[in-house]
Amino acid sequence: MEKALIGLAAALAVGIPALATAYAQAKIGSAGAATVAEKPETSAIMIILEAIPETMVILGFVVAIMLILQLG
């Protein structure tokens, strides 16, 4: 039972931030595409803005790995 809970916790640790990242990226992506269409010189800034929310899922991934390692 404990192992199952740890597994579930690992899944949630990566799943919830993944949803949050996807939501944020969708919003930034649509705005970014419009901005780049009007000002192509903002491409790099848009990549930066688009990539910022990814930190959430990366940290979630680290937590998930730590939890999975507890399973042995």
């Binding site: 010189e41 491409s43 790099a44 800034i45 990549i47 930066i48 990539a51 910022i52 990814e54 930190t55 990366i58 940290l59 991934f61 680290v62 790995i65 390692l69």
Partner: protein, 641 residues
């Protein structure tokens, strides 16, 4: 690195100004310094400049209408011969060109209109022919019987109700001694509309109109062919027209094509000449002059200085005076930036072209990108098989674009670098199309198998992040010293020391080295905090926390690499499950193909992000402007603007 620039001032006689500008354009290295607001006003008032701009835009529009876009094969001698024939400095000649262009545009519009009319006629005639064929038998049979035939557009959903009502109406209107007559035929025209042909006795046609009006139907008149005959009475006429109309369309298209072939290059050559002259004219207007003397100021790369000096001396002798000097620190923001990197790093300048240029005398990160970008991307892909495929694609595209497109040539070189690093990492991870190498050749990893040893890879990527972020902070501190920005320097150094302290603390906590690190940790943290406080505000502390987050962000290299490795293994597993069958191998190949695309897209995007966000954020400030020398459009460098 950023090329050293020299500020050059050329003073000469007004009568030489035109020749001098042409000479400078031939040299192609002089970046003119201008005061935009003043110059725009001057140029806008110049009628010849306005006329040339108008003609240039007009020619470009005509080329668009013609569909001509073969700039790369425009012959040089054509440009020269048209240049000799046309006098662009004469307003009357420009008026004449404008008149000819207007006439040409009229002819072109007529041709386009004719083609469009033929295309529309063919489309409409096909429709008519289809409808006429459908109703032809019905129409001729009913006509022979002497019936009244009418055509209607009806809503498809109302047809059954309409037919019932029509039958009832005809029956009730027909005397008992006569036999009621009613016949119909339908043709669907899309989802909601149908054409209905109705045949009744001649005296019942008013009853039909009454019912059809009640149901909101519209009377449909069978279209006529071009020769004026009704298509339903003479479907052969429509068929004949369908034979000769495409021939006429083809002839009209051929005429347009030959006009395109004949006039496209001439118009393009004229465009080049006007564009060329316009640039010189604008420059002539920008010269600051006083009496018989003019002055032209600008920037040239110091490596070109001797060449420019001797060339001007040979051409104009004592008639021009040149003064030059290195830019003063207060001028640095105005100095145009030319990136001048060694061949191995040159393709990676592409990454800076997506951003504002770095400031003069600041750090050009291209060389660092050239080292770290392929390293990160290769670490994510980490597969010998994938690396070999990317290497082949890179070599092929390099061969294809070497002389044609400098951007695609650069992209190909970057791809080759990534592929080489992927192969090296592939050996370290022991991966060849996932675990296929292990299965077929008993390949073993030189370092660690990613799917089993995720922790070592994660630790390595975080260490890579520490090194990369610390390098960025060190460069940031160096920039602060160079630009005499104390706040910036203290903040970057404070963050750097604090980060190092945290790293040593982690190393000591996990006993990774046999050394008492506590004094070092304390010293580094105290120094770091002191520098952050000296830096002046809270942003330094936020920056430090952000830097820790930045370092952790490098774990993505391990995470993306792991997902790529697992997907590659899944592909091979299909052969296990389905056996060495066509279907099994096909599925494995398809999944490898998908993984290949995800691997290159993901690794490139994430490596770029690590550079733009984590690395550049520590030192890069896009405060420079691009070096844009005035030069001629010539040879194969001609491209559509």
């Amino acid at each position: 690195m950023i090329a050293e620039m020299i500020h050059l001032k050329i003073i000469g006689l007004q009568r030489d100004s035109k020749d001098l500008i042409e000479h400078i354009r031939d040299l192609g290295v002089f970046h003119v310094e201008i005061e935009e607001a003043v110059e725009y006003r001057q140029i806008a008032d110049e009628p010849m400049v306005e006329k040339m701009k108008f003609l240039r835009a007009g020619i470009l529009g005509l080329l668009e209408d013609l569909g001509w876009n073969d700039w790369s094969s425009l012959p040089q001698d054509l440009v020269e011969s048209i240049g000799n024939a046309v006098h662009l400095d004469d307003m009357a000649a420009l008026d004449e060109i404008e008149k000819s262009l207007v006439e040409f545009k009229g002819r072109l519009s007529e041709m386009a209109h004719e083609i469009r009319a033929f295309e529309e006629s063919i489309f409409a005639l096909k429709q008519v022919h289809y409808i006429a064929n459908h109703f032809y038998n019905f129409f001729t049979e009913e006509k022979k019987r002497g019936k009244a035939i009418s055509f209607w557009l009806v809503e498809t959903g109302k047809i059954s109700g309409l037919l019932k009502k029509l039958e009832r109406k005809i029956r009730s209107a027909t005397p008992v001694v006569e036999r009621p007559y009613f016949n119909h035929k339908l043709l669907s025209q899309g989802e909601n509309i149908s054409i209905m042909a109705l045949s009744v006795n001649q005296d019942k046609i008013s009853a039909v109109h009454e019912i059809m009006d009640e149901f909101g139907c519209i009377s449909y008149t069978m279209p006529k062919t071009i020769v004026g005959e009704s298509a339903i009475e003479s479907p052969m006429a429509a068929q004949m027209e369908l034979k000769w109309l495409p021939e006429r369309l083809e002839r009209a298209k051929k005429t347009l094509d030959s006009t395109k072939e004949e006039w496209g290059p001439r118009l393009a050559a004229l465009y080049i000449l006007i564009d060329d002259r316009l640039e010189s004219l604008i420059l002539e207007n920008r010269l600051s002059s006083e009496g018989e003397i003019f002055t032209l100021t600008g920037w040239i790369p110091s490596s070109e200085f001797e060449k420019v000096k001797s060339s001007l001396k040979n051409r104009f002798g004592e008639r021009v005076l040149i003064t030059w000097r290195s830019p003063e620190p207060r001028e640095w923001p105005k100095v145009p930036i030319l990136l001048d990197n060694p061949r191995w790093a040159k393709p990676f300048e592409l990454f800076l072209k997506l951003m504002p240029m770095p400031g003069y005398k600041s750090t050009d990160p291209t060389a660092f990108i050239a080292i770290f970008f392929p390293l990160f991307a290769g670490c994510m892909i980490g597969d010998i098989g994938y690396g070999l495929i990317f290497l082949l694609i890179g070599l092929f595209s390099l061969k294809a674009f070497r002389w044609k497109n400098p951007i695609l040539k650069g992209v190909s070189q970057i791809l080759i670098n990534i592929s080489v690093m992927s192969i090296i990492w592939g050996f370290l991870y022991g991966e060849f199309f996932g675990d296929l190498g292990h299965r077929l050749f008993h390949m073993e990893p030189l370092w660690v198998e990613r799917t089993h040893g995720i922790i070592p890879v994660m630790v390595f990527t975080v260490s890579l992040g520490v090194a990369h972020v610390i390098l960025g902070l060190a460069l940031g501190a160096y920039e602060g010293v160079k630009y005499k920005n104390r706040h910036h320097t203290y903040e970057r150094l404070g963050t750097l020391f604090t980060l190092l302290g945290i790293v040593l603390f982690v190393v000591g906590y996990f006993n990774l080295i046999e050394l008492n690190l506590v004094p070092f940790v304390v010293a580094l943290l105290v120094t770091g905090l002191a520098l952050l406080i000296k830096g002046g505000n809270l942003s330094g502390f936020v920056e430090t926390i952000g830097s820790v987050g930045n370092v952790l962000s490098y774990i993505r290299i391990a995470a993306i690499g792991l997902s790529s490795a697992i997907l590659a293994m899944v592909a091979t597993k299909f052969v296990d499950v389905l056996g060495v069958t066509f279907f099994g191998i096909l599925l494995a190949v398809l999944i490898h193909l998908l993984n290949l695309i995800i691997a290159i897209a993901g690794s490139v995007l994430h490596s770029a992000r690590l550079h733009y966000v984590e690395f550049f954020g520590k030192f890069y400030e896009g405060k420079g402007k691009q070096y844009r020398p005035i030069k001629r459009r010539r040879g194969t460098a001609w491209r559509k603007p």
